[in-house]
């Protein structure tokens, strides 16, 4: 009786080993290298479908992180969410897993669901910069700018050389009306990395502080670095209009309409100049074209309303 039992146990053990071979930590390091090289489908092939469970317990949280990130980078956000939810259940105090899950939820527009995870991370590690950034973005979305500023400042204690973070901080300061501090923050961001959106942010701050020449220069610099962004040319056109530089604004609007005849804002810009010059027929023509736009509903509504007003006796 005894020997068949031993035989059975031996068979079972060998079967288990064959079916669920446990990898060493080296396997995770190899997978990390594959991930770093951009081999996301291969990471998924290695770690998906129970692959993580084959790793030693101590490596699993890191493996779930790699797997979730790989799903995200291959556009599989639902699978990433599933991965992080499973990982969060198994590793409820792992800061990386918690922030991964929170970041994913927040970027999907689910700030309410993301917030408790960030807060849980801060309960464990009060200085966690990732969670402070996450909460800054959550509070910004909530419209709670004071709290957003507070979390940006806490994140900057650790990441004071992060240009993206500094730009977000500058935007919140600008929204709160602290233009001088916002300008300092955006300049620090630009010192670390010259990025066109940050230049536009600086341009807007300069304009709000009355430094018009500098604001045109910063905007031109941004446009030079990223010439495909038509909105910056439109921004320049609107500023020219505000400043009463109608000839330049008209020239710019003509050029923009040449490039894209359907551009409702360029049409609106040209109509506004024509209206100021008393050329009402020309204004009506451009307003009618702008009012027909479906891509820019607000511009279309404004153009339509202005057209109606012009047509009134």
């Amino acid at each position: 009786m005894r020997s068949p039992r031993i035989l059975l146990a031996a068979c079972l053990l060998s079967g288990c080993a064959a079916a669920g071979r446990v990898f060493s930590d080296d396997a995770l390091r190899e997978t990390e290298a594959v991930f770093a090289a951009g081999g996301y489908p291969e990471v998924i092939a290695r770690l998906g479908e129970g692959g993580v469970q084959k790793l030693p317990r101590r490596s699993r949280a890191a493996a779930y992180h790699l797997l979730g990130q790989s799903y995200l980078r291959t556009g599989e956000s639902v699978l990433a969410l599933q991965t992080y939810k499973v990982a969060e259940g198994l590793h409820p105090k792992d800061l990386t897993i918690l922030t991964d899950l929170a970041d994913l939820l927040r970027s999907a527009g689910l700030a309410d669901l993301a917030r408790p995870y960030y807060e849980r991370v801060l309960d464990i590690h009060p200085g966690n910069a990732v969670s402070h950034v996450g909460l800054a973005l959550v509070f910004r979305e909530y419209g709670n700018l004071a709290k957003a500023q507070e979390h940006y400042e806490l994140a900057l204690r650790e990441w004071d050389r992060n240009p993206v973070l500094l730009k977000g901080y500058a935007e919140v300061l600008a929204d709160r009306g602290d233009l001088a501090a916002a300008t300092r923050a955006i300049r620090r961001s630009l010192d670390l990395q010259v990025e066109p959106d940050a230049l536009v942010c600086l341009a807007r701050l300069q304009r709000r502080q009355g430094a018009k020449a500098e604001s045109y220069a910063s905007l031109a610099d941004a446009a030079l670095r990223e010439p495909r962004r038509a909105e910056w040319a439109l921004q320049r056109g609107l500023w020219l209009l505000e400043d009463g530089r109608f000839d330049e604004a008209r020239e710019l609007a003509d050029r923009l309409i040449e490039l894209d005849a359907a551009s409702p804002l360029a049409r609106w810009l040209r109509a506004s100049i024509a209206m100021r010059r008393g050329q009402l027929a020309a204004a009506e023509e451009d307003l009618a074209a702008a009012a027909a736009s479906r891509d820019d509903p607000f511009t279309a509504r404004v153009a339509g309303a202005m057209l109606e007003l012009l047509e009134k006796p």
Partner: protein, 324 residues
């Protein structure tokens, strides 16, 4: 657990980011809005439409108005007149009197039932056993501590509040005289607090006759009105005592009035506070935050609505003004 996950997935799939955020404004729309908003803000107040804010009743839920006003102030949204009912009157009076927003945000820390009335366990016992209503005279002192002994004509932002005369059923809109008794009357919950005897009238909470005081703010000259509405969701609560039943009847009455009054406003901001019980001050800060969130979500729509409303006046200043 499984249902929770399924719901999460549904939410994720339905979220704006997953769908490429069709609700996000186009860059052109954002630029034009910013441009026209700056034009509108640069007009002198008498050259642009007068903006009114109507703050609804709603007891503790009405503290969400603090969050709404905070977002409007941060965004530089003009507020030329304010009217409030009940908690809307409390928040509105403090705002109109010029109380700093940071101090207004901490209002729940100072505003308790016992701070505004002679409410305590003995009084509550008396209320039920001897039909002795709670006195709210202390509330006037509370208001005076916050903003001084102001009159309606002394508030930097014009203000009105609404109460009801218990003897005639009339709606009383206060626009003059001392602020404190009027605000006390406007927020004086019938059945719990003693009516306020003022100018030969027996006044109680205006929420019974004017839940969203759009008409009151229009009386102050507002042409474009933003209403902050903090209705209760009575459909989910089965009241278990006298107070809860009374509050539920208030909420139902408020909802009926609100249906009509919403149509009179140009824009509605509705914080998601329907589940907050009328007395639950422990959720006050959460309620303020919900006010901020609702206002933040509606800010773009509010700016666009006001721009479109103001276009005739803006355009009047453009035509023929740039002739070479």
């Amino acid at each position: 657990m499984r249902t929770g996950r399924a719901a999460l997935l549904v939410l994720l799939l339905a979220s704006p980011a997953a769908a490429g955020d069709p609700a996000a404004p186009s860059p052109s729309d954002a630029l034009l809005r910013e441009h026209l908003w700056a034009q509108l803000r640069s007009l002198p107040p008498d050259k642009r439409p007068k903006v009114g804010v109507a703050l609804s009743a709603g007891a503790v839920r009405g503290l969400a108005h603090v969050g709404v006003l905070q977002v409007l102030e941060d965004a530089g949204f003009p507020v030329d007149a304010v009217a409030g009912t009940s908690m809307g009157a409390v928040v509105g009076s403090l705002y109109a009197a010029g109380l700093d927003m940071a101090k207004l945000r901490t209002l729940p820390d100072r505003l308790t039932f016992s701070a505004g009335s002679n409410f305590n366990a003995i009084r509550l016992f008396q209320l039920f056993m001897a039909d002795s209503l709670i006195d709210t005279r202390k509330f006037e002192l509370f208001l005076k501590n916050e903003i001084g002994d102001k009159r309606f004509d002394q508030t930097p932002t014009p203000f009105a509040c609404v109460a009801m005369d218990l003897l005639t059923g009339e709606k009383i809109i206060f626009r003059e005289g001392p602020l404190a008794p009027a605000v006390r009357a406007s927020s004086n919950l019938p059945g719990l607090f003693k009516p306020v005897v003022y100018r030969h009238r027996y006044l109680v909470d205006g929420g019974v006759v004017d839940y969203i005081p759009v008409d009151a703010v229009r009386l102050l000259g507002a042409e474009w009105v933003l209403a902050s509405v903090t209705e209760g969701d009575f459909s989910k609560t089965v009241p278990s005592n006298v107070l809860m039943t009374l509050s539920q009847i208030f909420d139902i009455r408020g909802a009926i009035l609100s249906r009509l009054q919403r149509k009179e406003a140009d824009l509605i901001i509705e914080p998601a506070v329907g589940d907050v019980p009328f007395h639950d001050l422990s959720r006050a800060h959460e309620v303020i935050e919900k006010g901020m969130r609702a206002a933040s979500r509606k800010l773009t729509a509010a700016e666009e609505s006001l721009i479109l409303f103001s276009l005739p006046r803006l355009q009047e200043g453009w035509v023929g003004k740039g002739k070479p």
